[in-house]
Subunit: 224 residues, 2 copies
DNA sequence: GTCTATAGTGAGATAGAC
DNA sequence: GTCTATCTCACTATAGAC
């Protein structure tokens, strides 16, 4: 039986494969930046972990800052997409807040470096001195746009809940800060958190318990 | 009228002034490490901000790591001392928890870089890969001892409150993580937090409002 | 206790061959 | 798209004069 494929064409489609290195680089860089911060990781180190020469990185990302921005964008985009999937506007604010927290917790649990990376990005004064949430003179960077969307969604939820009387009246920006700290810090606390919890922070049981605990805590903290 | 001071002795007492440079270095280094992380600040930069030559730092702190450790120790020691001052064992767990939060908030507000520095120290995998809270083979470092004391005090409070029935039953380590995140993140969020709150995070009114909000939130989250 | 000078290392980035 | 080689610069740390 003759092979229908022409002999000069390999069986795997050769097209649509170029981003393989890029994905690997982003993955390794995410772990590095999360663990040691922007200044703490060298491109040499990242390249070696990927299995490339240092200079090859510059083919994919022209500068270290571009690589960092791309990592942040990918992480925050995944988060934002998860939140979009959870959208069910017919639910009340309390249910939607609970699902907002669910989605964040599940994503931070699945993408272990993400919490560290986000916390750093929000706390660092370098390389981005001020992460902006609203348009000013310059356009927002892609990752800033994503973060603004994520926090804005939480803020809208709180506002709605207060208006509906299911949440007590409180300062929305303050509440955002509290919720973000309560949700994100745990998954960023690494060895310290593990010493405290006495278990791998990212094991299935630990994540599910954490999800329940933090949802309960936040809902009680906000309830009218 | 003759000057009573001998001409070769300056009017200010020359003795008891040696730690002046050391204090300045610690202060500048705290701000630097807080803003940009351990790897992000150079000793040259710190020395310049203090007004010293780079090499003079090594006279006070033999290595960069020693300087970092000293900064952490100072910050956490101030926090621990503030908590000691608040001790009134005759109060119930709820009041003591409220005063625990009060003391932390007031210290983080007074010592602006402290929150960033602490959050970093708890999240970083470098230069200290694992901050330990209990004695193992090696002795705890001074700053680890302080942190263990601060978190241990919170844990004890929670345990007592649950036993007394004023807090609902919950996982103590999880609750510690939640409370720390909720309290500390706000003061570490810098420009992002300021954009959110719309005000200087460290102004008197903002701090007092924050104190009220986070105490209320945490107490509601824990109440039985 | 502070300085200048310098060693030694590793960083980010560029050029150009293949 | 990856490589080798190289540039420039900043870093931690040391040595020794004052």
């Amino acid at each position: 039986m003759p092979d229908p494929r022409p002999p000069d064409r390999p069986s795997r489609p050769p097209v649509l494969r170029p981003p393989e290195s890029r994905e690997k680089i982003l993955e390794v860089a995410e772990a590095g930046f999360a663990a040691k911060g922007y200044a703490g990781v060298g491109l040499r180190e990242i390249a070696a972990a990927v299995g490339l020469g240092k200079s090859s990185l510059f083919h994919h990302f022209p500068t270290k800052l571009d690589l960092y921005g791309a990592v942040l964008e990918q992480v925050l985009t995944r988060l934002a997409l998860d939140l979009d999937l959870q959208t069910r506007p017919e639910d009340g604010p309390a249910e939607r807040l609970e699902r907002w927290i669910d989605a964040i917790v599940r994503r931070l649990a699945e993408d272990a470096p993400a919490a560290r990376l986000m916390l750093r990005a929000m706390v660092d004064q370098e390389p981005y001195p001020a992460i902006r949430l609203i348009e000013t003179d310059r356009e927002l960077m892609p990752f800033e746009r994503r973060l603004a969307g994520i926090l804005g969604r939480l803020g809208g939820l709180l506002e709605e809940g207060i208006a509906a009387g299911v949440f007590r009246p409180l300062g929305i920006p303050d509440a955002i800060q509290t919720v973000v700290g309560a949700v994100v810090f745990h998954f960023a606390s690494g060895d310290l958190g593990e010493a405290l919890i006495g278990e791998d922070l990212f094991s299935g049981t630990a994540v599910e318990r954490r999800r329940r605990e933090v949802v309960e805590f936040v809902c009680r903290g906000l309830r009218a």
